[in-house]
């Protein structure tokens, strides 16, 4: 292959490296209004009255909207497939506020300063309601967070259960009876933040024809168009959503957070409007990773082979439930499909609390489930005195294995049966074992106050949502043999525009520079469900490949006609007859446009897949533990990934290198904390520390290059798979270093010291 698997510069690299104005906010519109949202200071309250008079009297205030200005139409902010699998439990503005940061009113002013000043002049009288801050206390609580009759598809609103499922495959009780060893534990993961550097930002205006234009930093432009259309009751055809370059998303922008408010102001006033969240608002009023409390019980035979798994998930979805059902469904699916097991059972509940709303975050439930599974695996290995790598190798899935849980747990309803067509997990584990000199490192003598240790964890993920995710592409040829590739796919910084151009270039046999990509504009690019679930290369890439094959066929056919031959080949940008006579791509296109058998060489294609081939990863962590202070230092991470055929090696490496510090953050230093009233405490990067360049351990990234038969040129997903295994690998390395077993993230020095005290 000429372009697949080769280093290719990002198509947007020049503009981004020069700081060119390519982001949503890099545009000034005349007469633009600036929006600010008044947010609830209370975790749970009813608005008795709102007096906006004093605020409205400030010079420069144009509009103030409260709950009285919007119909009671329930929706979900989750940008997912349609009909949405998330409960419709929110209003644009409501009379009840359910967490500190919930929206109370929106102000539109001539400047940000004026809007800010007006915030303080709105007088709100609240009737305080009891707040639920502990997910374990939510179900039996006399307080009901969503008592209204309007919401749709809440599983049991009276018990604060947003979503629920249970399932059993095989006979789990019998499986435990047959087991030689049964171990169980409770594992919990924290509220963590996507922390993309560009905050949520949206601009809206009316174009010359009065159509609504939404320019937004979103991963899901087509879902934005659909949801805004429904909420503001304007036809889809009257809305254009444009996604420029995005400053990171990681799932945080798979959500309709501000677009409908901004559009409402533009529609009401006829003027351009801008809304941007502050960093502080990002921390408590945007989205986060669902904290989960997982009870996991595994029974194995004397050889360590799985006989039964029982998984119980309690997911805290916060005050509303976007992605609540599907995130815990992914937790279960990934935790229950990494290893072979004949008997599996799961019960999962998502409960409401009066805390910030969780949503989609890279990994989408997998890091929580893999954390529990991979720590318990280490405990089993220790108990049976089997090498942790060997225990995993014995239980690995093989090509041809069915993943029965995939059929049971789909995207909010029954899914599709999945058969494994490729797996490199064993190779990843073996490659890592060699690379870290596992035996020697494991057996290093532990003495002195600083103890070093090494641990391993494995993970599997998916590639797109089977039967749901759909991407499409439109490809047309120009007379200089360049091609415009128009895709609905959304490059959120991942480099997907470049990967899609490489796929088109490979098919068409032209240099990547000949492919001009335009993506994510609902007026000009065809539909795509959006950039999530690690789907773009696989799903949208499948559409690009099909469209390019059709275009190539047209070039070939026009070329043969122009040469007057039936037989020919395509070589080096020419159609060449047996005689050696040839005609260039450029001439074929030019003559097709202007003189001969006239037509535009172009094609469209769509792609959807019932397969969702799992990529795999094995992560090895080397840590040192200071037994005097409890401080854990990660010294090196070796991450080996099977993502099928790699399309663009530096970009794929970059996905892994970026996922690791996010995972280490969840393991060691990131968590959103709240006071006894539910108010957030750490809403900036000082209180909420994300990895800096100075904090980074040594990172070694390796790929086991396989071939996934269902993917474009053999590719599987790479964006999310590397984020799940680092946290359990660190936990297992800590155990190897000092014998302390951690089951709750993030790992705090006091947890280590407490564990050491218990040991001695």
């Amino acid at each position: 292959m000429k372009y697949i698997g080769k280093k290719t510069h990002r198509l947007d690299g020049f503009a981004l490296s020069r700081g060119r104005p390519v982001f949503t906010d890099d545009l000034h519109l005349p007469h633009m209004l600036y929006l600010k949202v008044l947010r609830s200071p209370h975790a749970h309250a009813r608005i008795k009255s709102i007096d906006t008079t004093a605020a409205a009297n400030i010079d420069g205030i144009v509009s103030i909207l409260t709950w009285k200005d919007f119909p009671r139409h329930y929706f979900t902010s989750a940008g997912q497939g349609y009909p949405e699998p998330s409960p419709r439990d929110m209003l644009i503005l409501d009379q009840t506020v359910r967490f500190v940061g919930d929206r109370v009113a929106v102000i539109a002013a001539e400047s940000l300063e004026i809007a800010q000043a007006a915030l303080e002049r709105i007088q709100v009288e609240y009737e305080l309601l009891p707040a639920i801050l502990d997910p374990k206390a939510s179900i039996a609580n006399p307080t009901v967070i969503h008592p209204e009759t309007g919401p749709v598809d809440i599983y049991a609103a009276d018990r604060n259960i947003a979503a629920y499922f249970q399932s059993e495959l095989g006979d789990v009780d019998r499986g435990f009876k047959e087991s030689a060893l049964i171990l169980e534990g409770e594992y919990s993961t924290p509220y963590v933040q996507q922390a993309h550097l560009e905050p949520h930002i949206t601009l809206t205006w009316l174009d010359a024809n009065g159509r609504l234009v939404i320019r937004s930093s979103t991963q899901v432009p087509f879902h934005v168009r659909r949801i805004v259309s429904e909420l503001l009751v304007i036809p889809v055809g009257q809305i254009q959503v444009i996604k420029p370059r995005i400053g990171g998303g990681f799932g945080g922008k798979q959500e309709i957070l501000n677009e409908e408010l901004c559009a409402a102001v533009t529609l009401k006033t006829g003027r351009p409007a801008r809304i941007e969240m502050t960093r502080e608002e990002e921390f408590y009023a945007a989205r986060s990773r669902h904290p989960e409390i997982i009870k996991l019980k595994i029974g194995v035979d004397a050889e360590g082979l799985f006989r039964a798994v029982d998984l119980n998930i309690l997911e805290n979805c916060g005050a509303y439930a976007p992605h609540a059902l599907t995130v815990m469904s992914v937790t279960a699916q990934k935790a229950l499909s990494l290893y072979r097991c004949p008997n599996i059972r799961v019960e999962a509940q998502a409960v409401y609390t009066n805390l910030p709303i969780a949503g989609a975050y890279r990994g989408y439930g997998t890091p929580q489930g893999i954390f529990a599974l991979e720590v318990l695996m280490d405990e089993i290995a220790n108990e049976l005195n089997i090498d942790p790598i060997d225990l995993r190798l014995r239980n690995c899935q093989e090509v041809g294995d069915e993943i029965p849980i995939a059929k049971v747990l789909g995207e909010g309803s029954e899914g599709f049966p999945i058969v494994l067509h490729s797996t490199g997990l064993k190779d990843c584990l073996e490659e890592g074992r060699r690379s870290v000199q596992w035996q020697e490192a494991r057996q290093e003598v532990k003495t002195g106050p600083i103890r070093r240790g090494i641990g391993v964890a494995a993970a599997g993920h998916g590639t797109g949502i089977p039967g749901i995710d759909m991407g499409s592409a439109f490809l047309k040829m120009n007379e200089d043999a360049s091609f415009n590739l128009l895709v609905g796919a959304t490059d959120l910084g991942t480099g997907s525009d470049t990967a899609l151009a490489q796929i088109a270039a490979e098919v068409l046999e032209v240099p990547v520079e000949k492919i001009v990509v335009y993506s994510s504009d609902t007026d000009f690019t065809p539909f795509d469900t959006g950039a999530y679930a690690s789907s773009t290369t696989y799903i949208s890439g499948g559409a690009v490949k099909k469209a390019a094959e059709k275009v190539k066929e047209q070039i070939f056919s026009q070329g043969k006609k122009l040469l007057g031959v039936d037989q020919a080949v395509i070589r080096d940008g020419f159609v060449e007859a047996d005689s050696g006579e040839r005609i260039s791509y450029a001439e074929i296109c030019t003559r097709s446009m202007y003189t001969d058998d006239q037509m535009q060489i172009m094609a469209t294609a769509s792609h959807m897949s019932y397969d969702s081939p799992p990529p795999f990863n094995a992560t090895f962590a080397e840590v040192s533990v200071d037994t005097e202070t409890g401080l854990v230092q990660v010294e090196r991470i070796v991450s080996v990934t099977d993502a099928g055929q790699i399309i663009n090696p530096p970009m794929a490496e970059g996905q892994v290198e970026g996922a690791i510090p996010q995972a280490l953050g969840m393991a060691l230093c990131e968590h959103m904390i709240f006071d006894e009233q539910g108010a957030p405490i750490n809403t900036d990067f000082t209180g909420y520390h994300i990895y800096t360049a100075a904090d980074m351990p040594e990172i070694v990234v390796k790929f086991h290059e396989g071939h996934e038969p269902t993917g474009p040129y053999g590719a599987k997903a790479v964006a999310e798979i590397p984020i799940s295994a680092p946290a359990p690998a660190v936990v297992n390395a800590i155990y190897n270093a000092c014998g302390v077993r951690i089951r709750k993230l993030p790992i705090q020095p006091e947890d280590i010291l407490r564990g050491l005290a218990q040991l001695s």
Partner: protein, 152 residues
């Protein structure tokens, strides 16, 4: 309103501002979009500019303190051959993902290189430690800077 005189990208400017205005607000309102809002608290570095050759967070600088200072943004450095080479290495190395933090990172490296022509890897990491990046894990930005120093 106040008048502040300083040099912006080599040009003398007189800015009419209100005293509470930050350099970040001023630069973005006058079209210098490489300087970005990320946190407003001087924690993330997306608004990095050079003030008298030092990398600083524009969101923390109130306009009056800039009197007689020399301010540079990435836009000014288009003609700087060394910076262009660093930019090309960022592209070649794959050091750019979403690109939101990239201008700030480049300016932090420029400030470092003006002070020390052969910094070691620890100095590079220190220089970048004020520029948060959630995409790259800093691996490729650091190696792009290392390559630049090796090629010098």
């Amino acid at each position: 309103m106040l008048s502040v005189r300083f040099t912006l990208n080599g040009q003398p400017v007189t800015a009419e501002i209100h005293p509470g205005q930050t350099l970040l607000e001023y630069l973005r309102s006058t079209g210098f979009f490489s300087v970005k809002y990320g946190c407003g608290h001087g924690e993330c570095g997306t608004c990095t500019v050079l003030v008298d050759n030092m990398a600083m967070n524009a969101c923390l600088l109130l306009m009056p303190v800039l009197e007689n200072r020399r301010v540079e943004t990435l836009e000014a450095l288009e003609s700087d051959a060394e910076l262009a080479e660093l930019q090309e290495l960022f592209i070649d190395e794959g050091a750019i993902q979403c690109g939101y933090c990239t201008p700030g990172m480049l300016l932090s490296l420029v400030a470092l290189l003006r002070e020390d022509s052969k910094p070691d890897i620890n100095a590079i990491r220190d220089a970048l430690s004020g520029n948060l990046c959630r995409c790259t894990g800093y691996v490729k930005p650091v190696s792009a800077a290392e390559r630049f120093i090796l090629c010098r």
